[in-house]
């Protein structure tokens, strides 16, 4: 590296880091964006969806030029049992038109595009480079400030502000003393396969138009004794299947992620959706699931933490929250730059912006969610089983009269009472699946 000092260094060119770099570059500040992969997104495989409303604030009308795959019009939640499914869903064709609602994207393309936006605005992107350590300077007996980073070739590069956008593992955030060690209880592990299928076939099979997409979330299978989620996501001519559960439950339940994928594919209702698909890729990643109690300290002298590294996940949303937090940190960096003060006094503004955001309030409101999951490891499985039994009974054309039928259904519903004691529990359960 020739240049040794920047106004700002951003570690990690994911959605959070590239948005921070973009925001800072727009302010005509010098910013170095460091990525360990050969290009941004090269390390990433995810379903997944980008929620339009948040991203629209950062890059208005982004869908005109961003590599989006399909506009999602159908969202379904399946309560899966061995040979049946209760399906809850919504299709809104208005979502196929501007301003849209959500898009499926491929990270390899999306992350690269977003980083390119930052570069076009003036950011300097350094690929193939791991930041191994942070560089600090003592400013008092106990006080220190962050002044730079150490790269994997041993070189040091300096900046007035460091933004950590390093994703879920957050090793540097821990090194900085900004968060407690992560535990298996605070992470979920998601594994996925990506398949190719011609666009026309996808559209026929999932009953969507060209450029329209669907997403299916499923629970209850193949997990017993773990809170797990299955996801099916449509891109232009690919389909992603993801299977995930809390890491501590994978560990104690002796579950193997690859076997979970295999088992999921064997479910007859999923199997038929994937018929004729060709396997393209296999991947896996953790998602922070600690919730409010495990959020790190978000800033210190000369440093801010954004995106997954800061634990900003709410339901199925992460990438767009990462981008918003990146924007807030970028704006705060610009304020600090204007004042020539990079201490906590000015960087505190970042925390204020986060605290004002809708997602912080959501994360705070779902404070009990991880406790709930840990107290009721069987909840998904049992609710799903019961729902399917009820549905079988409901749709079954038998010879009993209505009153008898009602009684039968009531007995089935009562059988889950030991697990779900109150309707409050049931409500909590549905809330925490967070599908809609």
């Amino acid at each position: 590296m020739n240049k040794k000092h920047f106004d700002c260094i951003v570690v990690g060119a994911g959605p959070a880091g590239s948005t921070a770099a973009l925001t800072i570059a727009r302010e005509n500040m010098s910013v170095l964006l460091i990525e360990r992969g050969t290009s941004p997104g090269a390390k990433k495989l995810f379903g997944g969806l980008i929620h339009r409303s948040a991203v629209d604030e950062i890059i208005p009308g982004f869908w005109e030029r961003a590599p989006v795959e399909r506009a999602i019009v159908t969202d379904e939640l399946w309560l899966l049992d061995q040979t049946s499914a209760v399906k809850i869903g919504f299709t809104g064709l208005n979502y196929a038109k501007p301003p849209y609602n959500k898009f499926s994207v491929i990270r390899y393309k999306w992350d690269k595009w977003l980083a390119d936006e930052a570069v076009r605005a003036g950011a300097f992107l350094l690929n193939n480079t791991v930041v191994r350590h942070l560089v600090t300077e003592q400013t008092g007996l106990k006080a220190k400030k962050f002044i730079g980073v150490e790269l994997d070739n041993g070189e040091q590069v300096y900046a007035n502000i460091i933004i950590l956008a390093e994703g879920a593992n957050a090793a540097l955030t821990e090194e900085a003393g900004l968060r407690k060690p992560i535990t298996a209880k605070n992470l979920s592990l998601h594994t996925m396969e990506l398949y190719s299928l011609p666009a026309k076939k996808i559209e026929e099979r999932f009953n969507v138009g060209p450029n329209e997409g669907a997403v299916i979330g499923a629970i209850g299978y193949p997990f017993a004794g773990a809170i797990g989620k299955v996801g099916i996501w449509l891109q232009k001519d690919t389909i992603a299947l993801t299977v995930g559960a809390l890491l501590d439950q994978i560990v104690t339940g002796k579950l193997n992620p690859y076997q979970l994928i295999i088992q999921t594919k064997k479910h007859p209702l999923i199997n038929s959706l994937l018929a004729g698909c060709k396997l393209l890729s296999y991947g896996s990643h953790t998602i922070p699931k600690g919730g409010y109690d495990t959020l790190p300290q978000l800033f210190s002298n000369g440093i801010m933490v954004v995106g997954d590294a800061a634990g900003f996940i709410s339901g199925r949303r992460g990438a767009d929250l990462a981008m918003l937090s990146g924007m807030y940190a970028g704006e705060t960096a610009a304020q600090a730059h204007a004042k020539g003060d990079y201490s906590t006094k000015v960087l505190k503004a970042y925390l204020n912006k986060i605290q004002d955001s809708f997602f912080y309030k959501d994360i705070k409101a779902s404070k009990e969610s991880s406790d709930y999951f840990h107290n009721y490891q069987d909840a998904d499985f049992l609710i799903t089983k019961t729902a399917n039994e009820l549905a079988y009974e409901f749709f079954h054309v038998g010879l009993e009269n209505k009153k008898e039928k009602m009684k039968k259904m009531k007995n089935i519903a009562l059988s889950i009472q030991p697990v779900l004691k109150t309707s409050e529990d049931l409500y909590q359960g549905v809330q925490h699946w967070g599908f809609f």
């Binding site: 360990r36 593992n169 992620p257 690859y258 990643h285």
Partner: protein, 89 residues
């Protein structure tokens, strides 16, 4: 795990010369009854054969093992810049 070998053919990994995964203390693994790492790793990087073997060449960087090992015995670092798993689609 023959199937896993087949699936790994679809994963691009640029393997570095040195491992990026190591153990704090191999003796701890001897006393670890369940050896959960041999199960929770999505590509079967860890396997037991007299001692814990680490086929770091198959690591897809999911980030689970440093947190999944109940004894905190796995030190997992990033492979050198530009190495490791890579997705093109």
């Amino acid at each position: 795990m023959e199937d896993l070998a087949r699936v790994l053919k679809h994963v691009d990994i640029k393997v570095a010369t040195d491992s990026h995964i190591y153990l704090k203390d191999p003796d701890i693994c001897k006393d670890c009854a369940e050896k959960p790492c041999t199960l929770f790793c999505p590509t079967g990087v860890f396997y037991w054969d007299k001692h814990l073997n680490i086929t770091y060449e198959h690591c897809i960087e999911c980030g689970a093992c440093p947190f999944g090992c109940p004894f905190n015995n796995i030190i997992w670092t990033y492979p050198p810049g530009g190495y490791g798993v890579e997705y093109h689609s």
